[in-house]
Symmetry: C2
Subunit: 125 residues, 2 copies
């Protein structure tokens, strides 16, 4: 619980954000909100949401930038910038293997976010 071994971690939300009780169950403390909001913000762009999905759903669990870039009408640097945003949010992890750079999803944070948004399936409305 100290820290996840990772190449370039900028966010250390495992420190003060023990996995979250659902948003609708207990009021989220300011510290937890400050730690998790950047992750939501990173997903708050259509391009990054698609990038995240393409990476997380890729075969073998990783996607090459060379496969991601041509899927959008954006320049290479712009895609690289979005990937950096996802990386700094702790949502993905990058690794260079030879010529290409591969991105892999980090399920831990995704699970935290999903748990936070979970609402009980109460049929009442």
């Amino acid at each position: 619980m100290s820290k996840q071994a990772a190449p370039l971690p900028r966010l250390d939300l495992t420190a003060d954000a023990p996995c979250c009780p659902p948003l609708a169950q207990r009021r989220v403390p300011a510290g937890t909100a400050a730690a998790l909001a950047p992750a939501f913000k990173a997903l708050g762009d259509p391009v990054r949401l698609q990038l995240m999905s393409m990476i997380a759903s890729a075969d073998g669990g990783e996607a090459c930038v060379c496969d991601l870039t041509p899927a959008f009408d954006l320049t290479g640097p712009t895609i690289s910038h979005h990937l950096k945003t996802l990386r700094e949010a702790g949502l993905v992890d990058a690794e260079r293997r030879g010529t290409w750079v591969y991105y892999r999803a980090r399920p831990a944070l995704l699970r935290q976010l999903a748990a936070l948004l979970t609402v009980e399936p109460t049929a009442a409305s």
Copy 2:
């Protein structure tokens, strides 16, 4: 943002759209990404994340602005602006009853977001 200049009046998928397959299971289409990204963006601010939680976890399912505002070191108009952002994202609903305005969470969209972020617990890593 991307090259979208649409007015984005209100999200329509809050009605009862079939809940999206998880992000990590199938690649999110551009349309879905464009529709859901604003919701994530709305949650991408610590203040709004706390507001969302305070509303969703409130007794009776609704919270009065008069209870929300003093919880932050921000002015009334600023809180009102954040609430408007949550409202326009389809995450909450407002209703005026007499002097006070009450906000209530919309579980449908929250469930969609949670489902999108769901990752299988058997994911290696």
